[in-house]
């Protein structure tokens, strides 16, 4: 038996070690649980630590190996799960007071598949309430600190997932991306985050925010880690009629192929849209991304200009659609069947309004209100109908651009991590943090964020690769090539014991 240093360890190295009998899943789990106990008090990544369950799951992996059974492609990989995934018997709150104490009677397809592949869930990760936010400041319970600078936000809504990977408080993590909620925190925390094609990963057991936009996906320290997780998560699911029946791609192989030879991207055209480099973009972000494009050219790619002319309408379109869908999805929180119920209501009507008024935080209330407004008779066509048409035009832009390139490469976020409180007073400013990530959500196409440098202040900068529908392998190949030629992913944030 060899030991593993959890700090900076990759998921594939852990799985390889466990599968070869060189590592015990239980030892790995203990090391991560110890790190969480020492370090997470200062970071706030976890809402719930399931130490007992983690030990039980790790022991089962070790028992499978000992019995000569295949312990799974992700054997022993310590996994952090965004608290939006229902986990049977383990409290799931979506970081909302209205779901405090909710213990799901069933398991999400994604977490079931990851467990089936041998991953060992350590606990549930913090997030913006109902995945609504870009800074994790909307968690009803506690903020998540950016591991690179505790004065800065980790991004959101999957801020706990990104920060936990950066701080080595798990080796693999999962989140959801509705307007950028995987890629933006991945960028701000300097890790890899992947939003696959809509329907590539089942939404069964994922608490709904905006159903036509919700995309579950993986986080990893490396491109191959994210690819390995996606291989285990993806695929058709009889419990989700919108899941895609197409076969799963060879994502790990694609990530590794990016490291083959001096010009692994030879013959590939990468499109760069001017619309994603607008005034207001941080100069250090722009310089890092331009530098990354040069590196991709040295890897053999041909850099071409493309245009996404309707980009300026993306945020408005996104907020009209996501709030309309959210107002419908969040109607289920009425205090009747699960979650919080206002204790002293004297009528059913009062029970509904008090339960929802007391249970929801400010941002879900704001979105329910906006969604109710845009769906009202008389306004429906002017707002919601208009947004659905604009969505088509934005999706068509991507389709037209892909006629001239294989993938599109952009910054993930126009700015690095911002400070706590900087955008909380103006919701519109917070919404604009998603300006470069909402497009692929509206179009339903895959996109990946990885680290491409740091600001002088030491904050990570994200590079986004966008591919056509079901082109996940293209994202992994481009990102794998960039990662093989750079060392940003090897940098680790400082550690502060709590």
């Amino acid at each position: 038996m060899i030991a593993i240093d959890a700090r900076g360890a990759t998921a594939v190295a852990i799985a390889d070690g466990v599968r070869a009998g060189k590592l015990r899943a239980r030892d790995v789990a203990e090391q991560y649980l110890d790190r969480i106990a020492r370090l997470d008090g200062a970071l706030g990544c976890y809402l719930l630590i399931d130490a007992e369950g983690a030990r039980r799951r790790a022991d089962a992996v070790d028992a499978a190996y000992k019995a000569g059974r295949d312990p799974g492609a992700l054997a022993g990989v310590p996994l952090g799960v965004k608290d939006i995934f229902c986990t049977r018997g383990v409290e799931t709150t979506c970081a909302s007071k209205i779901l405090r104490g909710f213990v799901p009677p069933y398991e999400s397809t994604v977490t079931a598949r990851l467990a089936g592949a041998g991953a060992v869930m350590l606990g549930k990760l913090n997030m913006d309430e109902f995945a609504m936010g870009s800074s994790n400041e909307n968690s009803a319970f506690k903020p998540v600190k950016n591991p690179w600078s505790h004065a800065h936000v980790p991004g959101g809504s999957s801020g706990g997932s990104a920060a936990a990977i950066a701080a080595s408080l798990c080796a693999g993590a999962i989140g959801t991306d509705t307007g950028g909620s995987i890629r933006q925190p991945a960028a701000l925390c300097g890790v890899v985050g992947m939003k696959p094609t809509y329907g590539r990963v089942s939404r069964y057991g994922v608490i709904a925010f905006a159903s036509s936009l919700d995309h579950p996906g993986p986080f990893g320290r490396t491109v191959e880690d994210a690819a390995a997780l996606l291989e285990a998560m993806a695929g058709a699911d009889p419990h989700d009629s919108t899941s895609i029946p197409a076969p799963i791609g060879a994502y790990r192989a694609a990530a590794r192929a990016g490291g083959d030879g001096p010009e692994p991207l030879k013959g590939m055209r990468l499109g760069v849209p001017d619309e994603y480099f607008q005034p207001g973009m941080d100069a250090e972000v722009e310089a890092a991304v331009r530098g990354a494009l040069d590196e991709l050219a040295r890897a053999g790619a041909q850099i071409v200009k493309v245009s996404l002319p309707n980009t300026k309408y993306a945020i408005a379109t996104y907020y009209l659609i996501c709030t309309a869908e959210a107002s419908s999805n969040l109607a289920r929180y009425d205090g009747v069947r699960f979650g919080y119920r206002a204790p002293d209501a004297r009528s059913l009507e009062e029970m509904y309004t008090k339960t929802r008024g007391e249970g929801f935080g400010t941002e879900p209330k704001r979105r329910i209100m906006l969604g109710t407004y845009v769906l009202r008779a008389g306004y429906y066509e002017a707002y919601y109908g208009k947004a659905l048409r604009a969505r088509r035009k934005i999706a068509d832009d991507f389709q037209a651009a892909f006629a001239g390139c294989d993938a599109i490469v952009t910054p993930t976020s126009p700015i690095p991590a911002f400070k706590f409180g900087e955008k909380t007073s103006d919701p519109l400013q917070m919404y604009l943090a998603d300006v470069l990530t909402v497009g692929p959500d509206l179009a339903g196409i895959p996109a990946l964020s990885q680290s491409c440098g740091f600001t002088k202040a030491g904050l990570p900068i994200g590079l986004q690769t966008i591919a056509p529908a079901l082109g996940e392998e293209i994202c992994f190949r481009v990102a794998g090539a960039y990662e093989a030629r750079t060392k940003w992913h090897e940098r680790l944030p400082p550690e502060t014991a709590s």
């Binding site: 009677p105 094609t197 036509s212 929802r356 929801f360 209330k365 109710t372 048409r389």
Partner: protein, 107 residues
């Protein structure tokens, strides 16, 4: 002139079954007004003869056989109920009548 008035916000809150404090109504009126003004930019986009996009990828609703399959046991389905009475979710009285106060009866 804001795009939305405090009275409209109160009416919306009623439709959405959200009890808001006066302070919340005031903040919401400001926030929603600013957001509605921002999304008005969409009016400049010509969407004549553009089909609404209701699904991210081309999609035919699949069907399955109508077969009885195992599902949650009543006790599991009721395990998270804030209040239950036997195999029922219990709520405050809906129909007015004698003793209509509170959540009386049952438990």
């Amino acid at each position: 002139m804001s795009r939305i008035t405090a009275d409209e916000v109160r009416e919306l809150a009623l439709l959405a079954r959200l009890r808001l404090s006066d302070q919340e109504v005031a903040a919401m009126t400001d926030n929603l007004g600013a957001i509605l003004e921002y999304v008005d930019a969409l009016r400049a986009l010509d969407t004549t003869s553009v089909e609404p996009m209701t699904h991210a990828v081309p999609f035919d609703c699949p069907t399955r056989e109508d077969e009885v399959k195992p599902s949650l046991e009543p006790d599991e389905a009721l395990a998270n109920a804030p209040r239950r009475d036997g195999s029922f979710f219990q709520v405050p009285r809906i129909v007015p009548g004698p003793g209509a106060d509170g959540e009386g009866g049952g438990s």
